[in-house]
């Protein structure tokens, strides 16, 4: 029974990791990464490692995706601003 749970959790983690790599758009990848964090938490719990599961839950499903999203927002806003500035420069005589 325990083995079955572990095997299931392992396959979920493998699938989530593959998805986190396959999703190429960084904002969507943040979501996939947080999903990976949740599946890892599940795996660590069934592997009798509550300490690591707790750490993974706090970091993997909240902190890392948030940092990725903030970086995406910064990069995207920069390129938007640049496009806007170029447009303004063209409009000026």
């Amino acid at each position: 029974m325990a083995d079955l749970l572990i095997a299931l959790a392992l396959l979920l983690v493998a699938a989530a990791a593959t998805a986190a790599v396959a999703v190429r758009e960084p904002a969507r990848q943040a979501l996939a990464l947080s999903l990976l964090g949740l599946t890892l938490t599940l795996l660590f719990t069934v592997l009798q490692a509550p300490d690591v599961a707790l750490s993974q839950l706090a970091v993997g499903s909240a902190l890392t995706p948030l940092l990725v999203l903030l970086s995406v927002r910064k990069a995207r806003r920069r390129s938007l601003d640049r496009v806007r500035a170029e447009q303004q420069a063209e409009e000026r005589p």
Partner: protein, 116 residues
């Protein structure tokens, strides 16, 4: 099959992460792939430390020597790295933000054309 499945899954996660890292067209995505590679090490470490019908090595509600417990050493290794790894990810993302500021691109291929 169950004897080696956890090790094979760890290897798969590592290889998939490496593949994503090498073929990434966006530096933020590459940092995410590195986080996937890191996850492989946790899976491997905790699998090595697992013991059948063992329980967590926490004796707050468990009388010592009544049940087999899993290996606490590998758990301690994984636990610190989860948190420290996140701050290293933050450092890498800070570098990516700087690259975006200075070179106005996040594509590694365009960066090598730009020469540093």
């Amino acid at each position: 099959m169950m004897d080696v499945l956890p090790y094979l899954v760890a290897a798969w996660i590592f290889l998939v992460g490496c593949y994503g890292l090498a073929t990434s067209r966006n530096l933020i995505h590459a940092v995410g792939c590195l986080a996937v590679c890191q996850a492989a090490t946790y899976v491997l470490l905790l699998s090595v430390g697992y013991r059948h019908s063992g329980t967590a090595p926490v004796f707050a509600d468990l009388t010592p020597h009544t049940r087999p417990v899993v290996d606490p050493v590998v758990q301690a290794l994984a636990l610190t790295d989860v948190v420290v790894g996140a701050t290293v990810t933050a450092l890498l993302l800070a570098l990516v933000i700087q690259v975006a500021k200075r070179h106005h691109t996040l594509d590694p291929d365009e960066l090598s054309e730009l020469r540093g």
